[in-house]
């Protein structure tokens, strides 16, 4: 569905952010993109919707070459790619509803959007989305009056109102506390499953990625160095992506996840020093299984 072919990005400063990235994402598939700071994760997802212009290579969305588009064609392609941001990137002084409706800007005329007269069908969808992300009744609050988790929910609703085929997600949880981070990840993965949406999620938090995302892509110095299932991400693989470090704790979280998935609630009984972490992992698993 989405193909990235040999994408290279060299910034005018001379920094080579991407050095020939290849990847493919199927419909409904959620992918976590991990890698050290400066590996090119943000650049890569911005090259896909051309907020950053790739120096070389092609991006194909549903067979159409996004890198060859201009003007109206590019805007049409962008509206099929919903974007979610680390700092939420809501328009602070606009209401929650205006922020959500801005997801439809690629579909409506300037005057409709300027007068805030969106089609009734779209407004109904926006209300339904707000309810789905748990913000029913928040439509007239200003975006800057919300908490971090609430803002990210608005960001998700905005991206979904674009009726996208893929979500490009840039560090969705980096500005959130651990509990809210999990809630947001759960919400995003649930929504992707409900709507058969693909997603590429940039993440720093490897354990969190392993908890929610089945496929991991590791990026180092602008090159894909790992592309496989979360289960196969061994300490050796993490060293390859990030460099030498003690990864046993990181993968133990992974092991716990597997254990929790195997014997369900039983994992809670064995809890000692890190029992709290373990049980919340188990809860996450239970909730995910329930939906």
């Amino acid at each position: 569905m989405l193909k990235v072919e040999n994408v290279v990005k060299r910034y005018p400063t001379g920094d080579l952010a991407l050095n020939g990235v290849w990847l493919e994402v199927e419909q409904g598939q959620v992918v976590a993109l991990i890698g050290p700071s400066g590996a090119g994760k943000s650049t890569l997802i911005r090259c896909i919707n051309r907020l950053v212009e790739p120096t070389r290579g092609r991006v194909l969305l549903g067979g159409e070459d996004v890198t060859a588009l201009h003007g109206a064609g590019l805007r049409r392609a962008r509206r099929r790619m919903g974007m979610i941001f680390q700092e939420f990137a809501l328009v602070e002084r606009l209401t929650v509803m205006e922020n959500v409706l801005s997801g439809q800007l690629g579909y409506v005329s300037f005057w409709r959007s300027a007068l805030r007269r969106f089609p009734a069908r779209v407004v109904a969808q926006a209300f339904a989305l707000l309810e789905r992300v748990g913000l029913a009744g928040f439509e007239d609050k200003r975006a800057d009056a919300l908490s971090g988790g609430q803002r990210q929910r608005v960001g998700i609703a905005r991206a979904l109102l674009q009726d996208p085929r893929i979500l490009l997600v840039d560090e969705p949880t980096a500005s959130l506390d651990p509990k809210t981070s999990r809630q947001i990840m759960r919400l995003m993965t649930e929504l992707c499953a409900e709507r058969r949406l693909a997603a590429i999620i940039n993440m720093h938090d490897v354990p969190l990625a392993l908890m929610f995302v089945p496929r991991i892509i590791g990026l180092r110095a602008g090159v894909v160095v790992y592309d496989g299932s979360a289960d196969d991400l061994t300490p050796e693989r993490l060293t390859e992506i990030y460099g030498e470090e003690d990864w046993t704790v990181t993968t133990r979280a992974k092991a716990r996840r597997a254990a929790a998935a195997d014997d369900g609630e039983g994992a809670e009984d064995e809890g000692e020093a890190d029992g709290a972490v373990r049980s919340s992992v188990a809860q996450d698993e239970a909730r995910m299984g329930g939906t």
Binding site: G82, M83, V91, L94, S102, L105, A114
Partner: protein
């Protein structure tokens, strides 16, 4: 790090200019220039003494302002000035907004940016009085020349500050709107306008009272309004009438100041 004894114990902030000779040369040069400039300003003490009396007369006139004997001219002058102020500010803001958008590097393209910055620089290069003299020569005496002058001056002020404000906005919000597939106009309407609107309103109100004050000044060179009335009063040595005019100007400026402050507080 083996030599513990070698750890420095004294620290001074590094000087801004490293070379001490250059540093002192610049300081002494600046001081010398200052002394010489004061020395060239000659004061004619006889004239000052004579002028003191006239100044005192003028100040005293403030205690007995005469609103009555020239009221007709005063009222007409103020009506003209206020009309000039309002129309020039509205016209100036309407022209400034597109120029400000074009002059903001982050949302404009280079050729448009250069043209817009050129217009801003042109408007800022000429002081209101000089522009007024030009427009009076082109369009004749009266408030039309005055209105054009103030509208033109508004561009240099408002478009510049608006452009700078736009350049300082949060790029993430703009990026998010761009990612939805919005057109340029929608991008401005959703991503830029909400971020700069309060300041644009504040600057427009501020410019409104600048334009009012300037209308009094450019009237002196023939661009109509209360300035013309004020000039006539001075020419006739009618300090009481002049004082009345100045007091009304002060009252109006203060009123504008309080109103715009109130509106700005409500907006942000």
């Amino acid at each position: 790090m083996n030599a513990h004894a070698a750890t420095p114990r004294v620290w001074r902030k590094p000087p801004f200019i490293a070379d001490p000779r250059l540093r002192w040369a610049i300081c002494l040069g600046a001081l010398g220039y200052l002394v010489l400039s004061y020395a060239t300003v000659t004061v004619n003490w006889g004239r000052v003494l004579e002028g003191m009396g006239r100044g005192a007369e003028f100040v005293l006139a403030f205690f007995r302002p005469d609103f009555v004997s020239r009221w007709g001219e005063i009222a007409e002058g103020f009506a003209e000035s206020l009309a000039m102020t309002g129309s020039s500010t509205v016209l100036g803001v309407m022209v400034s907004v597109p120029i400000g958008l074009g002059g903001a590097r982050n949302i404009s393209v280079l050729p448009v940016y250069l043209v817009c910055r050129g217009i801003i620089a042109l408007s800022r290069a000429f002081q209101e009085v000089i522009v007024a003299i030009l427009f009076v020569a082109m369009f004749g005496f009266g408030p039309f020349a005055g209105m054009l002058t103030l509208a033109f001056a508004t561009i240099g002020f408002l478009a510049k500050l608006l452009a700078e404000d736009i350049e300082a906005i949060d790029p993430a919000q703009v990026e998010a709107i761009r990612a939805t597939g919005a057109t340029w106009l929608q991008l401005i309407n959703y991503g830029v306008e909400p971020q700069v609107a309060p300041r644009l309103v504040g600057l427009s109100l501020y410019r409104l009272d600048i334009n009012f004050r300037e209308s009094a000044v450019i009237g002196i060179v023939g661009a109509g309004g209360i300035g013309a009335t004020l000039n006539t009063a001075f020419d006739r040595y009618e300090f009481e009438t002049a004082a009345a005019i100045l007091l009304i100007i002060i009252a109006i400026v203060m009123l504008a100041e309080y109103t715009s402050g109130y509106i700005r507080r409500r907006l942000i």
